[in-house]
Amino acid sequence: MSLAINKPRPDTMVQMTFLDALVQAQIEELERDERVIVMGEDIAVYGGGKLVSRFDERRIWSMPISETSFTGVGIGAAMTGLRPIVDLSIASFMYLASDPIINQASKLRYMTGGQVKVPVVFRCCMYYGSSLAAQHSDRPYPQFLNVPGLKIISPTSPADIKGLLKSAVRDDDPVLIFEDTKLWPVKGEVPTDPDHLVPIGKAEIKRAGSDVTVVAIGGAMRLAMDAAKDLAEEGISIELIDPRTLKPLDMDTIMASVAKTGRLVLVENAHRVANLSSEIAALIAEEGFESLKKPIRRLCAPDVHVPFSPALEQHVFPGKAQIVAAVKGLM
């Protein structure tokens, strides 16, 4: 009896960081399904210490520095019965994996007329804002939005990273996870239920409101939440949306909100040209035009590389003050 009490009930929540939730999700999936493996370089260094100590080398594969091919190895393994989680570590390195991700993972199911499936997950960590300079600071997900056949997620809370990573592992298609490492230390309530799944393709309304719709992506979400709180004190009501899945995009939720508010601010740390905000703005300009009362506002990183010096880098990413100002500008 006492044992049963110690075992957490499915609806129990625990407080943990985003990074812990991320690791916990992998541990649970590795334990649930022996087809799941993890592949990556220096896994312990990039936050996966618990994985390395818990599972043997047949489950956790240490990779040579060969990103192009080990990505292809993950795809080949996925096509032949495994469900690999490929850790590409810093997102700036993933251009080395562009070819296998785009030409193989995203295309093979279609090109074989459905003969194969490609259940592979790619983890890409977006480090920026910590003086690593341009070769380590990319947020490259906008480039992959244009590629058919991929699913792309970028959760912003511990519960969501756990639930979406698990959904990704259980999904039969290639899923790219873009983790904003600024979120790694963020704490939150996370369900202990080993089958806690957050559906791919569903946005979340973080905060309901009526004056202005704000869509914030990745690390920008924390600032947007703070901005919404400040604005509420001034009597401005923000409806704050987290797309969570970047492809396919849940436009129904965004469109319904804009239909209500008629005002839209998009906040994103990726470079501004042809990013997710561009796509959302375009879709609204096409299909939500009649509801728009004011011009759309995008707050993004400008079209410049991320500089090393903190004196410069601090000016690259949108801050809370800009979000507040943009919202007020629309009132």
């Binding site: 074989t112 194969v116 995009l249 879709l283």
Partner: protein, 336 residues
């Protein structure tokens, strides 16, 4: 070690299937019945079939843009392949792959990559998968002499050697990558020797001698199944036709007409094998029977393909995802 008569017969049949399938395919291509680009393996049948016949049905395989020979060599039926060439709904890839991508998963082919070198990591991943799944499956990985210069060759062979993966890397060395000879692209022309860099055995064989290819591949397969790791096999072969049917190449020819003629006359893997079979275990009549049955198979495949419907426009999105999620409806603002 000599092949059994049954295996000889199947070997000859598959080689001939490739030859006839592609001769007819070339004709149909020129007649405008096959769209896209058409790369024939004619001249390379000994290499392809010699290697494939060393595998079990449950073994896996990856191929290249020159993709017709690989599934046929592995034992695929011709109908769905021919229908695919014509872009029909009954094609092996439902009309989505075409000539450069005739992957037939039912015979173990996990992909024919038209990205040169792109299949090498996939095959390596299949080897890794076999190891994790603890099966005795091996994976045969075809690629050309040109693909040897891709980074994926280097990275993948290193990993396969490191982890002793059950993969056979089979280089169809036909001497050229489109117009580029080995002398103009390889700092060191001996491809088999590159295996040493990875601590892997590297073997060069006469790719026009199907039995020699079979023997080398069988040994590599046995090695892989024993858990002793991968092997690189370089099969020296020759492509009888142009890189791609109808390809026009201006300027000085990159290979001499004589070179081509000599190879066709003296190094035709089908003629060589036929002669060897007659010299040993087969009668003219027996071979003739195989030949006419292959001709009939190819004819049936063409009939099947021609009679098949094209995929309807409404099927455009089929097979994009295994688990589709549609926000917004796919065609919403598109041309369709």
């Amino acid at each position: 070690m000599s092949l059994t008569k049954g295996r000889d017969s199947e070997t000859y049949r598959r080689m001939l299937r490739i030859r006839k399938f592609e001769e007819e395919g070339t004709r149909l291509y020129k007649a405008g019945k096959i769209p896209g680009a058409f790369h024939a393996s004619i001249g390379q049948e000994g290499t392809i079939v010699g290697a494939c016949i060393a595998l079990c049905d449950s073994d896996a395989m990856t191929g290249t843009h020159r993709s017709h020979g690989h599934p046929i060599g592995k034992g695929a039926e011709l109908k769905a392949l021919m229908a695919e060439l014509m872009g029909k709904a009954t094609g092996i890839c439902k009309g989505r792959g075409g000539s450069m991508h005739l992957a037939d998963n039912s015979v173990g082919i996990i992909g024919e990559s038209a990205i040169v070198g792109g299949g090498i990591p996939l095959a390596t991943g299949c080897g890794l998968s076999a190891k994790v799944r603890q099966t005795d499956q091996v994976c045969l990985c075809f690629f050309g002499d040109g693909a040897v210069n891709q980074g994926t060759f280097h990275e993948s062979l290193n990993m396969a050697s490191l982890w002793k993966l059950p993969v056979i890397y089979l280089c169809e060395n036909n001497g050229y990558a489109i117009t580029t000879s080995i002398a103009r692209s390889h700092g060191q022309p001996n491809i088999a020797k590159r295996a040493e860099a990875y601590g892997m055995p590297g073997i060069a064989v006469d790719g026009q001698d199907v039995r020699e290819v079979y023997k080398a591949t069988s040994e590599a397969v046995a090695r892989a199944r024993r858990g002793d790791g991968p092997t690189l096999i370089e099969a020296k072969t020759y492509r009888f036709d142009e890189h791609q049917v109808g390809l026009f190449i201006p300027g000085t020819p990159y290979r001499h007409a004589e070179e081509v003629e000599t190879n066709k006359k003296l190094r035709d893997p089908l003629l060589l094998f036929r002669r060897a079979l007659l010299d040993t275990s087969f009668s003219e009549a027996e071979l003739h029977e195989i030949e006419s049955s292959v001709v009939a198979e190819v004819r049936d495949a063409i009939q099947f393909a021609e009679a098949s419907p094209f995929p309807p426009a409404s099927a455009l999105y089929d097979y994009m995802y295994s688990n589709p999620i549609l926000y917004p409806p796919q065609g919403a603002t598109s041309a369709v």
